[in-house]
């Protein structure tokens, strides 16, 4: 027993190599930090355009797209050379974006002109714009690729957009300042976080109505300090992680009961998050403390916090193991 415990302890101490690469956009320092998960160190800092926020890998894993809001465009970082190689067009002040399952079409929320820009990723050309609510932000595509979700921060709505016709087919009113939207992998539920409302609305994507809400309560913290933003859903759809902004906590939510089971302490103003491809770890960006916290998903424990640039905002993981 003791030997087994000792052995498992030693195994824990010598963490196995996993070698994934994470890219973190630093909104204030106008850089992207590259983190090697094998050792949890920042291996490179890439200079990008003004105010980088939304960040995501292309499906083929060759490029990292980063929305540089104050330059009104999306920059492409070559994952091999780790340098900015091209620019995609967008509307003014792009913030968050999402792509379809095939990785052919990119949908960009332009915060300042109430539109979603549609971009052909192969041709790197703008296909058109979709008019949405005021201050569009949260973006996600349904697992079947037929519906695009956009949340507008000021209109307090989740817009359901038909990707074929590019028309809004339904609007669902949620709590104040919806920031982020995330489907369950089985498409049975859409989760929308409301920063000011302090809740996550569970939407039935078929009926287009709110069927439940996740609420948060942390002893000793004011209600206003709890501002849900990023959401991470495990592949089995059983557990969701919700970043709670200035509450400096990530809530672990049981998706069956929609109840919080645990709060994990991370850095200040936790914003967005990304799983490693093997889903062993979840990385969160902590804007005010300028770092990234690493959560052991199975143990539901924060194991490490890594300093990055100023005001880290978004994060994306390379789909495969580092070369």
């Amino acid at each position: 027993m003791l030997r087994a415990g000792l052995l498992s302890g030693l195994v824990l101490a010598a963490a196995p190599a996993h070698g994934f690469i994470a890219y973190v956009s630093n909104e204030k320092s106008n850089t992207v930090s590259v983190i090697d998960t094998d050792g949890w160190t920042v291996t490179k800092t890439i200079k990008v355009g003004q105010r980088p926020r939304g960040i995501e890998f292309t499906r083929d894993g060759k490029f990292v797209m980063v929305a540089v809001g104050d330059d009104d465009s999306i920059q492409l970082i070559d994952a091999r050379t780790q340098a900015v190689v091209d620019t995609l067009p967008s509307g003014p002040d792009p913030e968050l974006f999402t792509q379809d399952a095939a990785g052919k079409t990119l949908y960009v929320a332009n915060e300042n002109d109430n539109t979603v820009t549609v971009i052909d990723l192969e041709k790197r050309a703008r296909l058109g714009d979709i008019q949405v609510g005021v201050e569009p932000e949260g973006m996600t595509v349904s697992p079947d690729g037929k519906t695009l979700i956009n949340t507008s921060e000021t209109t307090n709505m989740a817009h359901f957009i038909d990707t074929a016709s590019r028309q809004i087919v339904a609007n669902v009113l949620v709590d104040a300042r919806p920031r982020f939207a995330c489907y369950k992998h089985d498409a049975s539920e859409l989760w929308v976080s409301s920063e000011i409302g302090g809740t996550v609305s569970i939407v039935d994507p078929g009926k287009h109505e709110v069927i439940g809400k996740v609420t948060f309560e942390i002893p000793g913290l004011r209600k206003e300090a709890i501002q849900p933003v990023g959401i991470g859903m495990t592949k089995d759809d059983k557990t969701a992680f919700v970043a709670l902004g200035p509450a400096n906590r990530v809530a672990v939510v049981d998706t069956a009961t929609h109840k919080v089971t645990k709060y994990l302490l991370v850095g200040q103003r936790v914003w967005h998050m990304a799983f490693t491809p093997d889903e062993k770890y979840l990385l969160t960006t902590n804007g005010v403390s300028n770092d990234v916290s690493v959560i052991d998903v199975a143990a539901q424990k924060v194991i490490k916090t890594i300093q990055v640039g100023e005001l880290p905002w978004g994060i994306t993981m390379a789909p495969g193991i580092a070369p």
Binding site: G9, L12, P219, G220, N248, L265, V294, V302, T305
Partner: protein
């Protein structure tokens, strides 16, 4: 009394005899502890009150910073756990010193000291026995703390053991040194006021030293000079599988100094006897 003062320096005992003596003393101390259930409960309640009540109230006070050996942000409860472990040992050390005074008053000490084995060894056995008792208390505390989400890495429960033994010996020998100067049980309250409280509060047990420094640089220097701070830090690092070398050196050196001084103080030809017998011992 004469048996104590006129006894010749013993020589040539076998290892087995030493071991018999050691197990005898440790066993007696262990039995005594187990039979005093109130003592066990109170030894646990004290740190748990700090953990459940004090720490809950202070949750937001510390703010957020990452200090070694921690690799991420921690809750205040997690921070004070090593301090409370050391507190258990500090109280236990003082409790042992109290029992030395009691033994002396009741005459039990005579039974112990008439043993032909070297006095230094006898006192060391007594220290080891006290430390063993403190280990029981600390591990019981760690088990309860685990349910309170204070979950150091599994290996930490093992690596903390040598640190606990060393800090237990240091605090025990400090207690023994103090007990040599206390003639009556009633004076023990003084020990609380002049030793336990200043040592505990002027240390890194409750607040990180950088925070103390912000408040008062002088207090910071006092905390740094406090051996209890180093016992806390030694335990804190060991609990996470790391060694704080400075704390190790300080605790090691203090243990040697306190133990030597305690053995010296209990030497009949110098310490105890010169001051004259006290209570039931006389």
């Amino acid at each position: 009394m004469s048996s104590i003062t006129t006894r010749e320096a013993p020589r040539g005992f076998s290892l087995q005899e030493y071991m018999t003596c050691l197990t005898g003393i440790v066993w007696r101390e262990g039995l005594r502890f187990l039979h005093q259930r109130e003592r066990f409960v109170s030894a646990l309640v004290r740190p748990l009150v700090w953990l459940f009540i004090f720490a809950a109230g202070f949750r937001q006070v510390l703010g957020i910073s990452i200090i070694p050996p921690y690799e991420t942000y921690i809750l205040y409860e997690v921070f004070i756990a090593p301090g409370l472990m050391a507190m258990i040992q500090l109280f236990n050390g003082m409790q042992s010193s109290l029992s030395m005074v009691y033994d002396r008053e009741m005459g039990n000490m005579r039974t112990l000291l008439v043993s032909p084995l070297p006095r230094g060894f006898l006192l060391f056995c007594k220290l080891l026995a006290g430390t063993a008792v403190s280990l029981l208390q600390v591990y019981a505390f760690l088990i309860i703390a685990w349910f309170w989400d204070i979950t150091p890495p599994p290996i930490g429960y093992l690596t903390v053991l040598p640190a606990l033994i060393l800090s237990g010996l240091m605090l025990g020998s400090l207690g023994m040194l103090i007990s040599s100067g206390i003639k009556q049980l009633e004076n023990f309250a003084g020990v609380m006021n002049f030793v336990i409280f200043p040592m505990f509060f002027a240390s890194s047990a409750l607040y990180p030293l950088w925070r103390v420094r912000e408040g008062s640089p002088y207090l910071y220097y006092i905390c740094q000079a406090n051996p209890f701070t180093h016992a806390v830090e030694l335990i804190r690092f060991a609990l996470y599988g790391q060694i704080n070398w400075i704390s190790l050196a300080v605790v090691g050196a203090c243990t040697i100094v306190f133990m030597t001084a305690a053995i010296f103080a209990y030497d009949p030809s110098r310490g105890l006897a010169r001051r004259g017998p006290a209570g039931g011992e006389g």
